[in-house]
């Protein structure tokens, strides 16, 4: 029986074969026909609008001539816009997250979206449908959160929204060459709700963090901004903003650590190791190293992973089970050589420590360059926002 990675690859390959044998795509000719039909429909719609304007103008002109009065200027009639400037219809039921966005028609409104701090993100007048705006390329905006309250002191309830933009793909650069764009950015935007349509008050905050809390209290906008990468253990920024009459200005800032990042420490013994070399086809005797993991925090760690990276060809043994499979094949770029393992290890409870013993051996018939080292990095999963990481590393140098 093949080992696990090989079996996975085999099953994926078999899945592809099974799906391919049953796939019935209409073909590229059908795609071309669809694209042509859509273009034709768009052209026809545009032509119809122009014809309607001409007919209306002509009708008015004919009528006016019959009445002996000069025709009114045709500019008083405009073609229907491709995108309505306001859409205040009833909001259809949305997914659970939409409950956080006010039912007030912003979910299906045309909003003036300020610029995101990310290339490729759209801005300006955008028509949202049930919290989403998406064009026909590969960018979209989503209303993530919402809050209401009077932030400009006019006695009317205003709407605060967290808008997130995701971009995936390529875009032509100014010189005509394709440029890769992508990523995500968020912004908090305030809209006045006094009129028939949402009116942009201003951008409260914009960045590449993750706005995890948005409230309006005492006329101030309060928000928590966590690192965009949920695996990052950076602090959460708590910020408040107030309306100055023309824009929002920051009124407060503080930082709190992630509430539940464990305080993990790791030590390795010995810290320097002279591994036996072997000139035979078989590896030399292995040498044990002990990794001590201590949890000085007050939070339990769920999965705890140990990543071992070696700059020389190494064999890592679990004394109980034997050699451990590396995560990837060794790669060598110039003088840099890396070989990586990721292992799940038993996690110590708060205030406790645990010791792991691993046996290391050099692969046969290699030389050990100067400054060779093996690093042991521990990453935990105690962050409620996501995978989380404690990211502590210990190293041993090889001689």
């Amino acid at each position: 029986m093949p080992d696990a990675p090989d079996r996975l690859a085999t099953v994926f390959a078999e899945l592809h074969a099974a799906v391919s044998s049953r796939t019935r795509l209409p073909g590229l000719a059908a795609a071309r026909a669809t694209a042509h039909r859509r273009r034709t429909v768009r052209l026809a719609a545009g032509t119809a609008a122009v014809v309607a304007v001409l007919l209306i103008s002509a009708g008015i002109a004919v009528g006016a001539l019959r009445n002996g009065a000069p025709p009114p200027p045709s500019a008083t009639t405009s073609p229907p816009s491709a995108q309505p400037t306001s859409s205040v219809g009833p909001a259809p039921a949305g997914p659970p997250l939409a409950d956080q966005v006010p039912a007030w028609p912003v979910r299906n409104a045309t909003l003036d979206v300020p610029a995101f701090p990310l290339a490729g993100c759209p801005s300006g007048s955008r028509m949202f449908q049930n919290r989403y705006w998406e064009n026909d390329t590969i960018a979209h905006i989503e209303m993530l959160r919402g809050a209401t309250g009077d932030v400009n002191g006019d006695g009317e309830g205003d709407v605060l929204l967290v808008l997130r933009c995701d971009v995936f793909g390529s875009a032509p650069a100014s010189g005509g060459a394709a440029a890769q764009v992508g990523g995500a950015a968020e912004q908090v935007v305030a809209y006045a709700s006094g009129g028939a349509a949402p009116r942009l008050l201003g951008q409260v905050w914009a960045g590449q963090g993750d706005v995890t809390r948005l409230v309006v209290a005492d006329g101030a906008v309060q928000l928590d901004v966590a690192p965009a990468d949920p695996t990052a253990a950076g602090p959460i920024a708590q910020e408040s903003y107030r309306w100055t009459g023309s824009a929002f200005a920051q009124a407060g800032h503080s930082e709190i650590p992630h509430a539940d990042v464990p305080n993990i420490e790791v030590s390795i013994d010995p810290s320097s190791l002279a591994l036996p070399r072997s000139s035979s086809p078989y590896p030399a005797l292995s040498t044990p190293v002990q990794l001590t993991i201590r949890n000085d925090g007050d939070t339990s760690i769920r999965p705890l992973e140990l990543t071992i990276v070696s700059t020389v060809g190494l064999i890592v043994y679990d004394p109980a089970t034997g050699p451990l499979n590396a995560l990837d094949e060794p790669s060598q770029n110039g003088d840099s050589y890396t070989h990586t393992w990721i292992l799940a290890v038993a996690a110590p409870d708060p205030g406790q420590s645990t010791t792991i013993t691993l046996d290391l051996a050099l692969v046969p018939a290699i030389t050990v360059p100067e400054n060779s080292r093996v690093s042991f990095t521990l990453e935990g999963n105690a962050n409620t926002r996501g995978p989380g990481t404690s990211g502590v590393t210990a190293e041993i140098s090889l001689q």
Binding site: A9, H16, A18, R38, E134, T231
Partner: protein, 174 residues
């Protein structure tokens, strides 16, 4: 008649042919979308729609370094949007596996286990195993470090392997 290329034209790489890309990649894209959505009909629709959009913009997209990547991202993005619209419903895991007639037990388990993975791990596994993308390419698409890709791939592999082993055990015990 022989047409001689000018020096400039000779240096310019030939633009890819969309017909050839459709022939070479559409089935594999369907498999990726099937693994992503667990619905073969939806996967076919998404891939066809992505090609429709590519047709309309081919003069521009064909100049990109990775036009297949553009089509893949459009299809994946459409899937994500569709997923958003449908996520108030239960993901059709049990029926989806039956969408491909005559699946082996491994296929059923694999597709179900993929559906149970966190989205980031699912995407990475599909890109690695079905799109033949390198860790560096996946990292670029996902906007994370290669180490993060390795971790996601490792976690995904662990879960998928465990699911397959469970199946083998059950079959062996049957």
């Amino acid at each position: 008649m022989t047409v001689r290329e000018t020096g400039v034209a000779a240096c310019r790489p030939p633009r890819p042919d969309l017909d050839e890309i459709y022939q070479a990649h559409s089935a594999r894209l369907v498999t990726q979308l099937y693994a992503l959505t667990q619905d073969l009909g939806l996967a076919e629709d998404l891939v066809q729609e992505a090609f429709c959009r590519a047709v309309a913009r081919w003069s521009r997209i064909s100049a990109y370094d990775d036009p297949v990547g553009w089509i893949r991202r459009v299809a994946w993005n459409l899937a994500a949007n569709d997923w958003r619209r449908r996520r108030t419903r239960t993901f059709p895991q049990s029926s989806a596996a039956q969408t491909v007639p005559g699946p082996s037990p491994d296929h059923v388990v694999l597709v179900q286990a993929l559906g149970a993975l966190p989205p980031a791990q699912r995407r990475v596994a599909i890109m690695f195993y079905l799109a033949d993308m390198s860790l560096a390419q996946i990292a670029e698409v996902e906007k994370v470090s290669e180490n993060a890709v390795k971790q996601r791939l490792h976690r995904g592999r662990t879960a998928l392997t465990a699911a397959l082993i469970d199946t083998s055990t059950e079959v062996g015990n049957a």
